[in-house]
Structure formats: C-alpha cells, structure tokens
Amino acid sequence: MPVYNIIQAVNDALRLEMRKNPRVVVLGEDVGRFGGVFRATTGLQEEFGKDRVMDTPLAEAGIIGTAIGMALYGLRPVAEIQFADFIFPAFDQIVNELAKFRYRSGGEYPAPMVIRTPYGGGIRGGHYHSQSPEALFAHTAGLKVIIPSNPYDAKGLLLTALRDEDPVMFLEPKRVYRAARGEVPEGEYTIPFGQAKIVREGQGLTVLCYGAMLHVVMEALEKQGAAEFDPEVIDLRSLVPLDTETILESVRKTGRVVIVHEAQKTCGFGAELSALIAEKALLHLEAPIVRVCGLDTPFPYTLEMEYLPSPERITKAIADTARF
C-alpha cells in the first residue's frame, strides 16, 4: 500500500473522481498549470485539460460565485481557496447563496459542490496564513464542515464530499499537510460523514479534537506523559454533521472532557461541544469541561507557538481534569 501525505491523498481522490465523473471540475487560483501553491492539484490539468481544471482570475467571490453557477447547472465543482484566510471575499457567496440555495428554492436549485481550503497555524504565516474559520461555517445552516487529520481520512472523506448532495466545506490542516503520512489504499473508498474516530480508547477522560490538533494531542500523550491519565482521544473528522453519539457515549463513560482546537476560544466549535455535553450528559460529568484553544486575539506571528494549544498546555488540562 502506498504511503502518502495529505496533499498526495487529496490529489489522489480528485484524480480518481475526475476519471469517474466527467462533471467534476476543479477551479481556483494557480490550480491548473502550477498545480496549486501546495501542489494538491498537481498533474490534474495535464490529465483532464483546461476545461476541467481552470486557473481563475484572482477573486474568491468569483471562484465561489461561478462554482455555484456551475453546480446549479449540473456540474460538480471543486473550488480551491488558496488559504482559508482569503475566503472572506467569498463569505457572502458561501453564507447567503451556497448555503441557502436548496432551501430558498424549495429544492428546485440545489448546489452540491466542494470548497477545499488549507487552514490553521503553526507554519509561521502570521495573521493571514493561519486562521481557523470552521466555526463560522458550522454556524451557517446548509453547509457540511469536514476536517481530516491524516491522509487516509483525507482521501476517503474527500471522495464522500465529491458525491454528496450538499455543499461541503473541506478544511485541510496545512500544518500537517506533509508531516502527516500514512498508508492509503489505492483506488476508491469512502468514509461516511458524521462518524468520529476513536483514535485511542481510554477510561480516564475524553479528549475531543480535529485537524492538526489531533497530532498535538498525541504528542502530549506520547511525549509529555498525558497518557498516564488514560484519555480517550476522539478525532471528530466531521463537525457538520456531528457524531453526537460517539461523543456522548465516551463522555458518559469517562465523565470528564477536554476539548482542543486552535481557533480562538469564544464561540469556537468547542463552545458548541460544551453546550451539547451540558444539555445531554450533564449528570455524567465529574469535572468542569475544559477547552484548550487559541486565544481571543488575532493570530500572531512571532509568538504563534505560545498562542496555539501546545502539548504542555494540553497535558496540564488533561492532568487537571483527571484529578479534579
């Protein structure tokens, strides 16, 4: 079985689906001839031509807006936004148009498509190459929000996204784009949305995380001694739809919860997870729910590793929660 990084897994999924479904098209800035600034679309234009792999002008609202039009017309567009930080020129198109088209048209005009975008910090990118906007999209009814943490999931989830009937925000953790490597089966396979993965079973407490943070959590376990508290580590993989069953089952078992995400704390996805657990499993809790998140500041540059959840911060949160 080949060993891929996340970029190669994404590329593989796109290539397979484009071979299978002639209606799948890719568009974005520098995705064609150059193969994307992170190389995720390398070789696609050579294989599928300029009609299906389109280098667009530099306008995110145009990329998403025209992709919506293609989806309304029956194509299956995959729009790449070069960095999640630059998605905001298209925010109106995503929130007011894409997310609402099926609903506002009474099902006359659904717009199934995929928006792929690298997100997250830890790559020395400062304010505008580091943000994690997932909660904004999870807050918007009508969008699915998917975040893989490894190559196997990236390929299987992207293939599902390309066949889904709804718009999918596919956020790729660029910090581990190349670092996360693993065996990826050749050929097609899909991973259903709404299924979290229990990465490590445990009895002591539940750790909820996704994307690049999974790797930081695992580092806390492996290098900082957090494993001694026997955490159950859950990689959510899919924020919308959310696997509430797996989350609640684990919480009922452990009674203790630590949530880790790199987006800022206030109104981050961790707030939603905390509320869910409070609503549905309050009486199982034996300790306050703890969130380890980015600070409520713009994303910094020099001190970014202090801003981001670190193995040390996570270990301390795990220890405090386990001992509470």
């Binding site: 098209v25 299906r52 002008p57 025209t66 293609m70 109106d92 099926r102 506002r104 099902g107």
Partner: protein
C-alpha cells in the same frame, strides 16, 4: 510643441451615441427599419400581451398590499418593455438569472401565474415553500433561478452557469439581470471579469432605471454609462431604449445569437426609469422630483408607446385591446382568489431542504417547537 506629459486614453466615441431605438415614444417608426427586423406579428402581439399582463398584475397586487392582504410588493411598472423584450429573445432552454424586477420574464416564458401568486402568499402551493418574502419566485421548469434579496450576488452564478453550458456544449445561453445599483457591487465586476476571461455564453442585462432606492445613478457611478464598465472587461456592449420593447427584443436577440455562436459574453444596458416607488415600503416623493417621474410614467410609458405602434400598424384594434385587458385582469383576479385561501406550508417544511436529507438534530429542534405550539381552537 511636444510635451512629456501623457494624454489620457480617449473614451470610445460609441458610448456617446443615442441608445438604440426602433419606435419613438409616440409610437411612430420607420417602417423599413421595422420590416428589416423581421419580427412576426404573432411575436409582436405576444410582447404586448406579456407587458400588459404584468402591468395589470402589479396594479392589483400593489392594491392588495395597501389593503394589508400581502406583506410586501415590488413593482416593475414602467420597465415592462425591458423585462419582456429581453426575455422574449431567449430560447426556451436558456436560463434566466434574475435580479428583483424580472418576474414578468418568468411569467412570459411559462411560469404559471398561480405559482407566482402562491409565492407571494407563501402558501402551500408555493414551489419555494414559503421561505422568502414576496417577489422572490423561482422555478426549474421555467428555467428561472430562485433569486435572493442580495444585490448582485446572482451575477457570478450567471457566469458560472454559462461556463457550465460551454463545458457541456449544450448550446444554451444564460441571461444575467441586474439594476444600475448592482453595478457598484464587487460581484458585478467579478462576474463580468470571469465571463470575459472564460468567454462564457452569458448576456448581462442591466436595467438602468436610474434609481437604487433613493440613490440616483449619478451618485452610483462616475461613468456616464454602464456599458463602458462592460467594455473594461472585454465585453461588447449595446445601449438600448429600455422603454421600447421592440428595440429591447431586437437588441437582445442579436446579443443572444452572438453568445450562442461562441462569440463570448455580451452586455445590454436598457435605459428606463423606475416610475414606481422602490417597493411598497418606499416613498419616493421624499427624495426625488416627481414631476420628472410623471413624464416617464405618461409620455414615455412603454405600453402606451407599443399600443400606439400596434394600432398604427393595424395589428391591434381598440376593441381587441379592451378585450385583452379584460381577459388578463380576469385571469389575475381569479388566480388571486384561488391562492389567497390556500393554507400555509406544513410545519415540517421548516426543516426540509436545508440538506438533501433531514438530519436528526433538526428533527429534534422541530419537535421542541411542535410541543409548544399554541393549540388551534376546534372548529
């Protein structure tokens, strides 16, 4: 004496030409020019019927809004020629991506009047299931995309649909509509730029009615025309008299044919005037000189003009015109009566169409709503 200072590039002279017109406001025309357009009599009558139908419908619905029977209404009064003339030039399988005043275009190409009225009531017959305020129709069968209230957002969709049509090589053309105000939005520029770069078969139609709520076009842009914005993106542009339905039809027909032949995106600026208030929530006497409006409303009325033309050419008689009015008015009244008593959509529709399948958390949220609904008194 030569100078080192550069001279700014000249504005193309074509932009200063009078807009394309075939029928003068009093109905007179150059018969040879009209004949050269080769528009069959049946088509001419269909244009008149389409315009008259929305005029009568708008009048009736605005009255109903005043009576409190519907919450809101936005008329297209005075713009019927631009709406119907351009829509009539499209093929049955071409798509319309509308802005806010093109409902008459949907009706012209076959959206049942009942569907339009049902949307206004937001009742159980509404194809779009009571999810938007009045005047937001949409239908796949009529190839009329369901609009949102957001100004300008539809224009990149029109370009994208045209890019898809080009890719699928189905020969269809997309018409993307906008008002003059929309040309200030980023989406307008993005849409024209992408269309130009990809040579997409889209025809943009700007209904320049000279107002965006209280903002006159002179405060919307420093350019004297909207057409020159299209030139900036490499689109051929035509300016036409938007109150001359035949000019709108013939101009649009030519642009649609060019787009269909693979000559890339096209732009039509139809010059007209918003003689009505912006909507039922607006009072234009607070911000504009209504004596100017009166000129457009009467002397430049597109229906008066085309009626005079048809009478002059012997294609319509005063009696025939009265009979047509009666027929259309009766149709509008009957449909309104039928739709007004239709029940609202079922509660369950609240959570449908968010996603292709209704997810469990929405079922749970709806159950909470349903459990606390006030009991309806038994009849």
């Amino acid at each position: 004496m030569s100078t080192a200072v550069p001279t700014p590039v000249a504005r193309p002279s074509g932009l200063d030409q009078a807009p394309y017109q075939l029928i003068a406001p009093d109905g007179r025309c150059d018969a040879a020019r009209i004949d050269a357009c080769a528009v069959p009599a049946a088509q001419l009558l269909a244009l008149y019927r389409g315009m008259l139908r929305i005029r009568l419908m708008d009048e009736r619905l605005l009255t109903m809004q005043r009576q409190g029977r519907i919450s809101f209404y936005g008329e297209a009064r005075g713009q019927e020629a631009a709406v119907v003339g351009t829509a009539a030039a499209l093929g049955p399988e071409d798509y319309i991506v509308p802005a806010l005043r093109e409902a008459g275009a949907a009706l012209y190409r076959g959206l049942p009047l009942a569907a339009y009225i049902a949307q206004i009531f937001g009742n159980d017959h509404d194809l779009t299931r009571g999810r938007q305020m009045p005047c937001h129709p949409g239908s796949r069968a009529a190839r009329y995309v369901t609009m949102s209230s957001c100004i300008g957002t539809q224009l990149p969709h029109a370009t994208g649909m045209a890019m898809a049509a080009q890719q699928l090589r189905d020969g269809h053309v997309i018409a993307g509509y906008m008002g003059d105000g929309a040309t200030s939005e980023g989406d307008f520029h993005v849409a024209l730029n992408f269309a130009g770069v990809f040579r997409a078969p889209v025809v943009f139609v700007c209904q320049n009615n000279q107002w965006a709520i209280s903002t006159p076009v002179s405060q919307q842009t420093a350019t004297p025309t909207m057409a020159e914005k299209a030139l900036a993106y490499g689109l051929p542009a035509v300016r036409c008299d938007g109150n001359d339905v035949l000019a709108c039809y013939v101009a649009m027909r030519a642009l649609v044919a060019r787009a269909r032949r693979g000559e890339g995106p096209q732009f039509l600026e139809a010059l007209t005037y918003r003689v009505s208030a912006h909507s039922s929530s607006d009072d234009p006497s607070r911000y504009r000189d209504e004596s100017v409006t009166a000129v457009w409303r009467e002397a430049r009325c597109p229906l008066v003009r085309f009626r005079a033309f048809l009478l002059g050419r012997g294609l319509l008689s005063p009696e025939g015109d009265s009979a047509l009015r009666e027929e259309l008015d009766a149709e509008v009244r009957a449909v309104i009566t039928a739709e007004e008593s239709v029940a609202p959509p079922p509660l369950r529709s609240l959570i449908e169409d968010v996603f292709a399948l209704v997810p469990p958390h929405l079922v749970e949220q709806l159950a909470e709503v349903a459990a606390a609904l006030p009991q309806k008194p038994a009849h």
